[in-house]
Symmetry: C2
Subunit: 326 residues, 2 copies
């Protein structure tokens, strides 16, 4: 089967389509004929060799497709349309998924739309609700708001928590899109100082929850933007990993909870539980079209290098999809 | 009434006993004739002017004594023996306490013992269970283990969670005491590298929960000592407030939850809820003598400066009590 591997850690030109054997099933697993997969930041970090995420030589952490084989008991049958997180191996014609991590694809969604859901919506759900403990009518600050996770988080915060949603992005085009999804306060970080705007929009109090994809560059401004007893969730380091001079007294006296997270290194049990809760609580919103998968562009498997490059250019709004089979 | 105030922000010599009016009660409050109060780190930080904790000019955040007046409905009566957190004003002959923050003193405990309980046990309870989410049979690392909060945390972790308890302290005398209270692994931080000892004691995995009173000086060693998905609770900065370089990627890839907290600046509602849960779950352990108040030394109100100096010398094991009235 066609599969994408990394020749050696480095740039997008290190990605290569090779022929590999179809993987063998173990108890509790399903074999999926992959229709679509998608590009995630974690793939790029892995490609660069910074965090070796999973033992699979084939990249890709999510798929949509059809069940072609199963091993052991499962609520799924051969022929079912499913989507979900995989332990690597998503950039290929066939992939293995843990049965308890597969989600039935609603009839109204295409395979491309389905491949745009698991990683970003599960991450947004986990960070907003499990880690960020976002409650009804609280205020949330979402950085990189036009990204895959950002666009998912705006929709979840709108429909689940009716939160006040403050977003940052780097262009009017992105911010306009965020407003359509439900964002209330739009901040262009290239033209405005976001901490000042956040304090203006919250009567000087700051926000209850921050979804931080940026890290070091935004450290002090995030600290200024968060409310007393706020929850700050770090899910990306687009602005650098190393913070110079962190003042612990301010974190302590504001009683801040700071949580670093990546979905990929979490345990199988964690992902299964998250998938189950997400399926029950959120999939109905896709069925009735209140929440939607946001797709930016589509590439073929052969153009995987171009797809990575496109994500690295930071111009995408929503997900970058890879069509593996038509 | 005799009361302790701060002349101007600075050292222990800035403390002064002055005469003040007995405070006036508002709805939902009790007036307490104070028998004992105690010294907490938060008093020292306030005395130094680093964090102005409460609007009360009189220092002191906890008392034990007798109810002499009440305003509004309350489950307490005039003459009841109570202990609890106050919004400042504890270092005085009379103090106001919110009725929903008062705890009935078990008959078996003296006023001095009672004054050694609220701040450190509520802090230990909050940090271990509410913030640290310590579960049965997990592993916890408790720094400054012979301190007031440390000795409370050891006992709670032992009796409530049956946790594996790893402690650090600076002398054999302190460590021996910690072992008697229930600590399993003793580390003298002056002679051993605590992160190496922690990894040895946990098969290289690290601990689930850290209670960190030290801050900057221990930053990298704590980061090395914590397990994947660990909860790290910062409740003191004895080793400095400023960390030179923080690597966010390691916090993110280990999925660490880092929470800064101080009990004093928390809201009245938070303290009332914490007090209620603590009273129901933990006071029975004092009644049957499984958990005990740990008292180091006692001073008179007039010697309050000496009491602060004693805490600053870091030689105490457990609480420093102030006898306000015999």
């Amino acid at each position: 089967m066609k599969s994408v591997i990394v020749k050696k850690p480095g740039g997008y030109d290190q990605l290569e389509v090779v022929d590999m054997d179809i993987p063998k099933l173990k108890e509790g697993e399903l074999l999926i004929k992959v229709y679509s997969t998608s590009v995630n930041r974690t793939d790029i970090i892995t490609r660069e060799g910074k965090v070796g995420y999973l033992k699979n030589p084939i990249l890709g952490v999510e798929v949509s497709g059809i069940v072609t084989e199963k091993c052991g008991e499962s609520s799924f049958s051969i022929g079912d349309r499913v989507m979900g997180l995989v332990n690597g191996g998503g950039y290929a014609e066939f992939a293995i998924i843990q049965s308890d991590r597969a989600i039935k694809i609603p009839d109204s969604l295409s395979f491309d739309e389905a491949a745009a859901i698991p990683e970003v919506f599960l991450t947004a759900y986990q960070t907003l609700f499990w880690l960020g403990k976002l409650k009804k009518h609280e205020t949330v600050l979402i950085h990189a708001a036009a990204s895959g996770v950002g666009t998912a988080a705006i929709q979840l915060a709108r429909h689940i928590s009716d939160a006040k949603i403050i977003v940052t992005a780097g262009s009017k085009r992105k911010l306009d899109f965020c407003r359509e999804l439900g964002a209330d306060v739009l901040i262009n970080y290239k033209e405005q100082s976001f901490d000042e705007e956040v304090l203006k929009a919250t009567n000087g109090e700051g926000v209850d929850v921050i979804l931080d994809f940026v890290g070091a560059d935004y450290w002090n401004k995030n600290l200024a933007s968060i409310k007393k007893e706020g929850r700050w969730v770090l899910i990306g380091i687009l602005g650098g990993a190393e913070v110079e001079k962190v003042n612990l007294l301010s974190i302590m006296s504001k009683c801040i909870q700071f949580t670093g997270t990546l979905l990929t290194p979490r345990s199988d049990e964690y992902k299964a539980l998250l998938t189950k809760e997400f399926s029950e609580n959120i999939i109905p919103y896709f069925e009735n079209k209140k929440i939607k998968a946001i797709i930016d562009t589509k590439f073929s498997l052969e153009d995987i290098g171009k797809a990575h490059l496109h994500m690295e250019s930071n111009n995408n709004i929503g997900k970058i999809i890879i069509n593996v089979c038509e």
